[in-house]
C-alpha cells in the first residue's frame, strides 16, 4: 500500500518549490492507523474477556430448571423465574408509559413548538436530564411514586418501578425521536404543506412514516438501558427474594405486586460468600444478555424491514 522507493514525477524545478516528503507523511499515517487499531482492540478484548469469564462460570449452571425455578437459599436449587418475569413485566410497563410520552414530547418539540426561549430552555434541560445519575431518579421515585402515590402504586410495586424507569429513559426517547424527525428532509414537509395539508397531516402522513424506523431504534435502545438498570430500583426497594409470580388478573393486582429484576438478583448473588451463588450470578447475567441482545436484534430487524417497505 505504501510505496517505499517510489518514482518521483516532480521536475527538478518543482522540487525546489514543493518538498512533499512523502516518506514521513506515510510514516505518520501508519502510526495513526496503528494507534486507532490498538484502541479498537482494547475495547474488543476487554469485552471478550468479560464474556468468556461469564460464560465459563455461568454456562454449566444454565439449564431449563435454572430458568423455571424461584430463588432459593440453596444455590443448587435457586433459579431466576421471578426476576426474569419481573424484568419482562417491568419492561412492558416502562415501554407502555415511556414510549407514548417520549415520542409525543419529541414530536411536539420538533414539529409543533415555536422556537421560543422557553422551548430552548426545555430542550437544554432534556439534554441534561439524560445525564442525571439514575440514583437521583431513584430518590425522586421513592418519594413520589412509592410514598406520595402509594394509594395508586401500592408502594414498592412493579408499577412504581416502571414509572421510575420511564422517567429514566424518557429523555433518551425524546432526544432520539427528535433526531429521527430532524432526519426527514424538509422538502417532504414543504411538499405536504404546498398541497394544503395541516401540520398534523404532514406529521402523520409523511414525517412519521419516514422517521418511524429511527424512532423505533432509539426507543428499543432506550429500553435496553432500562433493562440493566439497578441503582434506582434498589432505591425504591425492589425486593430480592420473591417466590411468586405477579397475578395478572385482575391487572391492578399485577401492577401493584412487589417484584425483583435480573440485575438486582445478580447483585444479590454476587454479594454472597458462597462461590456457587457466584456461578448463579454468571448464569443470570447470560440470560440478561440474551434478552438484551434479542431486543437489539429486534430493533435492527424492524428497522431494516420498514426501510425495505419504503424502498419497494
Amino acid at each position: 500500500m505504501t510505496p517505499i522507493n517510489h518514482y518521483s514525477f516532480s521536475t527538478p524545478d518543482a522540487e525546489q518549490r514543493f518538498q512533499p516528503v512523502l516518506t514521513s507523511r506515510y510514516r505518520l499515517e501508519r502510526l495513526f492507523s496503528t494507534v486507532a487499531l490498538i484502541a479498537t482492540l482494547v475495547g474488543l478484548i476487554v469485552l471478550a474477556v468479560l464474556l468468556a469469564d461469564i460464560l465459563i462460570d455461568g454456562l454449566p449452571r444454565l439449564s431449563w430448571d435454572f430458568i423455571t425455578s424461584f430463588p432459593s437459599r440453596r444455590p443448587a436449587r435457586a433459579g431466576i423465574l421471578s426476576p426474569l418475569v419481573g424484568t419482562l413485566w417491568l419492561l412492558s410497563i416502562t415501554a407502555l408509559v415511556a414510549i407514548p410520552i417520549g415520542v409525543g414530547a419529541g414530536i411536539f418539540l420538533e414539529e409543533f413548538a415555536a422556537e421560543t426561549t422557553l422551548a430552548k430552555i426545555i430542550e437544554i434541560n432534556i439534554g441534561n436530564l439524560a445525564a442525571v445519575p439514575s440514583i437521583i431518579y431513584g430518590l425522586l421515585a421513592l418519594q413520589v411514586f412509592v410514598r406520595i402515590m402509594e394509594p395508586i402504586t401500592g408502594g414498592r410495586s412493579v408499577l412504581a418501578g416502571g414509572l421510575t424507569l420511564s422517567l429514566l429513559i424518557l429523555p433518551i426517547i425524546i432526544v432520539s425521536t427528535r433526531e429521527a424527525l430532524r432526519g426527514v428532509p424538509s422538502s417532504i414537509r414543504q411538499a405536504g404543506y404546498a398541497l394544503g395539508t395541516t401540520r398534523w397531516q404532514v406529521v402523520r402522513d409523511h414525517v412519521l412514516p419516514i422517521a418511524f424506523p429511527s424512532i423505533l431504534t432509539g426507543t428499543i435502545l432506550a429500553l435496553s438501558r432500562a433493562i440493566g438498570e439497578t441503582a434506582s430500583l434498589i432505591t425504591i426497594g425492589a425486593l430480592t427474594f420473591i417466590a411468586f409470580l405477579p397475578t395478572l388478573i385482575p391487572i391492578t393486582e399485577g401492577l401493584r405486586s412487589p417484584f425483583t429484576v435480573l440485575p438486582i438478583q445478580t447483585y444479590n448473588w454476587i454479594s454472597r460468600p458462597q462461590p456457587e451463588f457466584h456461578n448463579n450470578a454468571a448464569a443470570a447475567i447470560i440470560v440478561l444478555l440474551v434478552v438484551l441482545l434479542s431486543m437489539n436484534a429486534t430493533a435492527i430487524f424492524l428497522r431494516n424491514r420498514s426501510q425495505q417497505i419504503r424502498n419497494d
Partner: protein
C-alpha cells in the same frame, strides 16, 4: 361540512370570451375557511355570513382587449416587503399578476424572486423569522390578513419546487393523497388519471401506478409533482425553478407541459434561465439586488412588463445588461 355559496357572477360585458370564468355563476368554496374558525382567535370577528369575497375590480371595456396582457389580474401585490429577521430581503414590491398568463420572475441570486413567490402561498410562514409587510390581494382579500388560513391559501395556490419532491409512496398515492386530504368527493381513480394526463405523465406510468414514485426519473418525478399540484384544481400554480435540477430533454418536456397548462391556470415561474423565460412567459418581472444603508444586499423589483418589452426594449440599463447576459 361543505358549504357552497353560489354568488351571482359579474356582468359579462368586458370579459374575454375565452376565459374560463365566463359563467353565469361563480362557485366560491367557503369550506376551507371553516376549520380555522375553531382555532383562530379572531374567528369570532368574522361571521360566516360576512360578505364574500369577490373582488370589485375595474372592468375592462371589450373594445380595448387587444393586447395580450390587458386582462384582469389575479394577484395584486401592494408595497410588499419581506424580512428575514432584521434583514430586508425584498423591498416594496408593487405588481399585478395577470390571469391565465405565464409570468416569469428573473434576476440574479438573492434578488428575492423566490421569496416573493413563496409569499403567494404563504410558504414563508414556515421559515422562522420571516416577516411580511404590505399586501398580497387574492380575490380581493389580503393573504396576510389575520383571518386567512394559510392551509386554505395553499389549496388554491399550488406550488412546484426546485427539486422534485414526491412523497416516498406509490405514484398513485402521491396524486390520490392530494385529493383525499382536501376531501375530494368524486372518483379518486379518475382524478388521478386525469391529473397524470394533464401533467403528460399518464402514458409513462399507467402500468406501474403502484410503484414507488422515487423509482421514476428526475423529469418524471417533477411531472408527478405537477400532477399532484393539479389534482386539487388550484387557480394559480407557482413554480420555483422547476427545471433547474433536470436535464435538457426533461426540461423541454416540462416547458411544453407548462405551455399546455397556461390555458387553464395562472402560472408564475421563477427561473434562472432567460431563454426559458422568453420562451414561456407573457409577462416578465426583473428583480435586482441593491445595497441597503447598512450594507446588506436585498432585492427589489426593478422592472415589470411584457416579456417582449423586457427582453427587447427594457427601460432600465440593469435589465438590459441582465437579459443580454452581461451579469447575473
Amino acid at each position: 361540512m361543505s358549504v357552497l355559496i353560489k354568488a351571482r357572477g359579474r356582468g359579462q360585458k368586458g370579459e374575454n370570451q375565452e376565459t374560463k370564468d365566463n359563467k353565469d355563476e361563480q362557485l366560491i368554496l367557503l369550506l376551507p375557511f371553516l376549520p380555522l374558525t375553531f382555532f383562530h382567535p379572531s374567528s369570532a370577528l368574522r361571521p360566516l355570513s360576512s360578505p364574500i369575497l369577490y373582488p370589485q375590480k375595474p372592468m375592462i371595456s371589450s373594445a380595448s382587449v387587444t393586447n395580450v396582457v390587458d386582462t384582469e389580474s389575479v394577484l395584486q401585490v401592494e408595497n410588499l416587503s419581506v424580512y428575514y429577521g432584521s434583514f430586508l430581503a425584498l423591498r416594496e414590491v408593487n405588481l399585478e399578476i395577470p390571469k391565465h398568463k405565464i409570468t416569469a420572475f428573473i434576476g440574479p441570486s438573492g434578488c428575492g424572486k423566490s421569496t416573493l413567490l413563496r409569499c403567494f402561498n404563504r410558504m414563508n410562514d414556515l421559515i422562522s423569522g420571516a416577516r411580511v409587510a404590505g399586501k398580497v390581494r387574492y380575490r380581493g382579500i389580503d393573504l396576510y390578513e389575520a383571518n386567512v388560513d394559510p392551509v386554505d391559501v395553499r389549496r388554491q395556490i399550488g406550488m412546484v419546487f426546485q427539486k422534485p419532491n414526491p412523497f416516498p409512496k406509490s405514484i398513485y398515492e402521491n396524486v390520490a393523497y392530494a385529493c383525499r386530504i382536501n376531501g375530494y368527493q368524486g372518483n379518486v381513480d379518475e382524478l388521478v388519471e386525469q391529473s397524470l394526463q394533464s401533467a403528460a405523465l399518464w402514458d409513462e406510468v399507467k402500468d406501474k401506478l403502484k410503484q414507488n414514485a422515487l423509482s421514476l426519473s428526475g423529469g418524471q418525478q417533477q411531472r408527478l409533482c405537477i400532477a399532484r399540484a393539479l389534482a386539487i384544481e388550484p387557480e394559480i400554480l407557482l413554480m420555483d425553478e422547476p427545471c433547474s435540477a433536470l436535464d435538457p430533454i426533461s426540461t423541454m418536456r416540462i416547458e411544453e407541459l407548462i405551455k399546455e397548462l397556461r390555458q387553464q391556470y395562472t402560472i408564475i415561474i421563477v427561473t434562472h434561465n432567460m431563454q426559458q423565460a422568453s420562451r414561456l412567459s407573457h409577462m416578465t418581472a426583473f428583480f435586482n439586488t441593491t445595497l441597503s444603508d447598512e450594507g446588506a444586499r436585498g432585492g427589489y423589483l426593478a422592472e415589470f412588463g411584457t416579456t417582449a418589452q423586457i427582453f427587447n426594449s427594457p427601460i432600465q440599463e440593469a435589465t438590459q445588461d441582465y437579459v443580454s447576459g452581461r451579469f447575473g
